[in-house]
Symmetry: C2
């Protein structure tokens, strides 16, 4: 028996409480029993999103809500600014272009965070821009873009929608949707929310609803206006993934019990401990700045293939991490500390990395990374 | 404690075996452990679909695959024939129009099945028609359209795609995708397949793939060409609902053990027993012809509101059936015998109907419907 540990940046492990809740008998989505579950999940989602706007629940992967952020609000030919600092920045570009939008790409070197003044400059250069698309956490690089600072820039551009992919960030980062003026914020079930994949979330501001009125792009499954109309009856347009929504309700209840501030502090603590441990082992994290609380990308040492590290972690130690994507393939491997994650998930990850590297011939002082993580995790817990 | 029975035409009850399989730890969709599960589910889906073509698995409600059947194969302005004999026929029209297709509607009186020669006539009248959209089982009326007979007509029209919504029919009806020349067949998880909602299925013929090459409608989440490209690696384009796919594998294994012929015979038997019981109670089923094996729509007796029957079934007896939709609201109520359904689900449904009607003042000989169902279920079992 090789005991398994899922430490990838999504899907993430699902707590037994949630697995069992989802294993309860299926409830009909139009039956009265479903209403309080849906209502409770919706209300708690608003709490998690720190918004007074509605948060819509879609049955799809997170990408579905990214698509919905485009095809409900814009028209072909409209200009959009996409902050592209990794694989998921690229995805915004591809989606926008699929629907005929004119994309200005603000390329950000992988491993760096966007400079808000660069966004300001782009907006000044092209006053036709109708939206800024960005990731909160760019999963491929492990970088957090400073959404608050970008929000400050956006406040000066009242006619431009501020659209944030928070799929990997939600729960791990403190994201103040309303206070920071985010018009659309995308989430997914299989990350911080500790659920299997299959649900996507989207908060929509009044400003965005107004912009939506002029949008003529074809849509049917992702038709947010129709979804909104159903909300007063606590209904979705189409049969929703009811078992996942019951699980969502359970997950949000767990997060509520912990408290938002504690949830964010826990993620920050685990991320920091991971980074300190990596340093103590003698490796470097990939981000040059602004590392996220969700996932840590670690540079493979000279002469060792990052994909081989990722494979050894999985095959020899049962730890499912993530490799590098696209231009980072072979150069980095990634460890998540996201969702149902605690002290000993970090210890397990760091220990597995130590053993993996030693077995691959890289000189590691066994226990060095674990010790550094412990140091920080004791301290932080005591405080 | 009011014990609950889910006897609606989707979602349907999920067997404990499947609930527990889905409660297993989440597997990463890019990890090797997921490959054999996905591959096995895909292969068994082909078996269920009776096709050699690939059956794509999408994370969405069944409607998602209906949309994918339009936006991947056509262009705005192209002509389509929609067989509209109920609520879900209407949905085909709405989806086609959302994407700018010119829809000819072949209206079929609710409760009737389409006459294949009417389709032939429409195709002759408008040679610009590029596709025929139809339901196998129209859930709102409980009618089965004779897909084999329509397929015979379609074989004379080699340039027209034959597109069947089999969401409520799959598993309950013998549908020979390849033999009957169905180009696209849509399925969903929460019906005959005994799973929670969240997955949609779509078989695609080579003829359809060829037609897809010329399609320019915008798409990203439902991009079937991309989904097809991922299949050789047993991968989906976006994070799929992995726990539902594990459940799908389990469901298909259960169906395989029973055998396709037995599965269809079971559904036919349960449907027939339901209809005989309804008759014995002194009520009429709604379909004027071709009742489905999936769901039975029952006419409320004179002076009794169909919605009140549906509500009493649920509130007093714990039986979640379905009411009437749109023009049938108040006129019918519907009982499913679909998926994880056996002899005593029919007995429960019939018994609950008897007690409900009696309590609402309608003269019912208690036990009359149950007796009739028993008669048929003993006979059929013995044969």
């Amino acid at each position: 028996m090789l005991k398994r540990y899922l430490l990838a940046p999504g899907p993430t492990p699902v707590p037994p409480e949630i697995l069992l809740r989802m294993a309860m008998p299926v409830i009909h989505h139009r039956a009265p029993d479903f209403i309080p579950i849906f209502e409770s999940a919706r209300n708690r989602l608003k709490w998690l999103y720190q918004t007074n706007n509605d948060v819509l629940i879609l049955t799809s992967s997170g990408t579905g809500a990214m698509v919905a952020s485009v095809n409900n609000f814009f028209n072909a030919g409209e200009h959009a600014l996409v902050v592209n600092g990794g694989k998921f920045g690229e995805r915004w570009t591809k989606i926008c272009r699929s629907y005929g939008l004119e994309v200005n790409e603000l390329a950000v070197e992988w491993g760096h965070a966007v400079r808000p003044e660069a966004i300001e400059a782009e907006l000044k250069k092209d006053p036709a821009i109708k939206a800024v698309f960005i990731q909160a956490v760019e999963t491929s690089t492990g970088v957090y873009h400073d959404i608050e600072a970008v929000g400050e820039v956006m406040k000066k551009h009242k006619d431009v929608l501020f659209i944030v992919d928070a799929i990997s960030a939600l729960v791990a980062q403190d994201l103040k949707t309303d206070a920071w003026g985010v018009d659309l914020m995308v989430g997914g079930s299989q990350k911080g929310l500790m659920l299997p994949p299959g649900l996507a979330f989207l908060s929509v501001s009044e400003k965005a609803w107004k912009k939506a009125e002029g949008s003529k792009l074809p849509r049917f499954y992702f038709n947010l206006k129709k979804e909104r109309e159903g909300l007063h009856k606590n209904q979705t347009s189409f049969t929703p993934a009811v078992s996942l929504i019951a699980g969502l309700d359970e997950a949000l209840l767990m997060l509520e019990k912990e408290g938002l501030a504690s949830v964010f502090a826990r993620h920050a603590r685990l991320a920091e401990a991971t980074r300190q441990a990596v340093k103590a082992i003698g490796l470097n994290t990939f981000p040059a700045e602004s590392p996220s609380n969700s996932v840590t990308a670690i540079l493979a040492p000279e002469g060792i293939d990052g994909q081989a590290i990722y494979k050894t972690l999985r095959e020899k130690y049962g730890v499912t991490a993530a490799g590098g994507q696209d231009k980072l393939k072979g150069k980095v491997f990634r460890i998540a500390h996201l969702g149902y994650a605690g002290t000993f998930d970090v210890i397990t990850a760091v220990s597995a990395i130590e053993m993996t590297l030693r077995s691959m011939g890289y000189p590691v002082k066994l226990g060095s990374g674990v010790g550094a993580a412990e140091e920080l995790l004791i301290e932080k817990r005591a405080s």
